[in-house]
């Protein structure tokens, strides 16, 4: 099974609150990713994780941090969320070359 899960699916937070988005995969694949997608735009890469405690910034890491303590789980953390972080966040895992399998997304609204 190549399932990628994301929790929660929907989240509403107030500006300044902390946000934790969770991602899980069931194949212990090494590489995992966090993206965000805004209306009418393609996906933008926030962070890549190559393995436990081996993370690398993507194209838009500012305002985000990640945590990966187990291969199966990859968390995206927003410390003191901002309204411009309202977006849909997708987690993905890598497979072989550049085939990535995406989760269903988390729709985050920051008021």
């Amino acid at each position: 099974d190549m399932k990628v899960t994301q929790m929660p699916r929907y989240l509403i937070k107030r500006m300044g609150e902390n946000v934790l988005l969770e991602c899980g995969q069931d194949m212990s694949h090494e590489t995992m990713y966090w993206y965000r997608q805004d209306p009418g735009l393609g996906l933008q890469l926030i962070y890549i994780s190559y393995d436990v405690d081996s993370n690398s910034e993507g194209d838009i890491p500012k305002g985000y941090r990640v945590s990966r303590k187990k291969r199966e789980h990859f968390s995206l953390i927003l410390d003191s969320a901002k309204t411009n972080q309202t977006s849909v966040y997708f987690c993905a895992r890598g497979q072989g070359g550049y085939e990535q399998y995406f989760g269903p997304g988390t729709r985050l609204t920051v008021l």
């Binding site: 990713y33 393609g42 997708f90 550049y98 085939e99 990535q100 399998y101």
Partner: protein, 112 residues
């Protein structure tokens, strides 16, 4: 990473074959071509990948021109479920370590 150019939108009727083109005039010899699609309210889904010539799988086929500057994703017998945004991505497998850059893609609309 090579830049890609796709038509912003296309329309087709159910049952037609649809060809989505992608121009990547600056593609490097180390770069591969990937196609993904995304239906509303879901994450992108990998469709097919190739380096040269012709690749086919159970979902689609991919034709790559001899100079590799143009690729065409072919979807046979499209249905309403094929309505999605189709992304063409060109990337170097080794150097970029899994990094995909999604552009704006081609929005495919299907008419019944």
């Amino acid at each position: 990473l090579a830049k890609t150019t796709q038509p912003p939108s296309m329309e087709a009727y159910e049952g037609q074959e649809v060809n989505v083109s992608c121009s990547h005039t600056n593609i490097a010899t180390s770069e591969y071509i990937y196609w993904y699609r995304q239906v509303p309210h879901q994450g992108p889904q990998f469709i097919i990948q190739g380096y040269k010539d012709y690749v086919v799988n159970e979902v689609a086929s991919l034709f790559i021109s001899a100079d590799r500057k143009l690729s065409t994703l072919s979807l046979p017998w499209v249905s309403l479920r094929d309505a999605a945004v189709y992304y063409c991505i060109v990337t170097d497998r080794g150097y970029n370590q899994g990094k995909l850059i999604f552009g704006q893609g081609t929005k495919l609309s299907i008419k019944p």
